[in-house]
Amino acid sequence: EPEVTQTPSHQVTQMGQEVILRCVPISNHLYFYWYRQILGQKVEFLVSFYNNEISEKSEIFDDQFSVERPDGSNFTLKIRSTKLEDSAMYFCASSPTSSGNTIYFGEGSWLTVV
């Protein structure tokens, strides 16, 4: 069964550093997402991406965050100048369309900011 894959599985970074989390969505999917889960809290939507642009973003997704699909397969989340409160599990997801289909999740990338 096709899977969404994410790298790294765990990253520790110092506060203020930039982090790039990488994702390879399922190959025939058109919509891509990033979610995050701070330890002990809900899974929260960050951003959706379609046709090489952001289609929706949450209030969490401020100027510190950016996404891109640089080469047609990878889908990256960049966090500039990380803060302690950015420590969380970040999930990438993809779906064939924006509605009427299941959203498939990757295994997540644990980010620890120290």
């Binding site: 997402y33 979610y35 899974v43 959706s48 289609s55 929706e56 509605s99």
Partner: protein, 114 residues
Amino acid sequence: AQSVSQHNHHVILSEAASLELGCNYSYGGTVNLFWYVQYPGQHLQLLLKYFSGDPLVKGIKGFEAEFIKSKFSFNLRKPSVQWSDTAEYFCALRPHNQGGKLIFGQGTELSVKP
């Protein structure tokens, strides 16, 4: 505002016991509803989904859920749990025709004692 509420934070059952996990949502329009499961160290996996039609939906591994529109509920059930069902369970909604983002509940941790 759109929200999902899961009533139980942690449920502990013995094997063969019946399971019901509560999920209520707040949204006035048409919704798609999902239950995802996250086994320890693994990614979010879809258990079952409701889009339309029969409000009683059956998923993988013997799980089912019933959509009760009048109660804004989508409770998850399984008649007889197994030790391997130990995991965290997330209810999620996707407002219809509002893009693909999911709104998650806070999750219910299920521990099944052998």
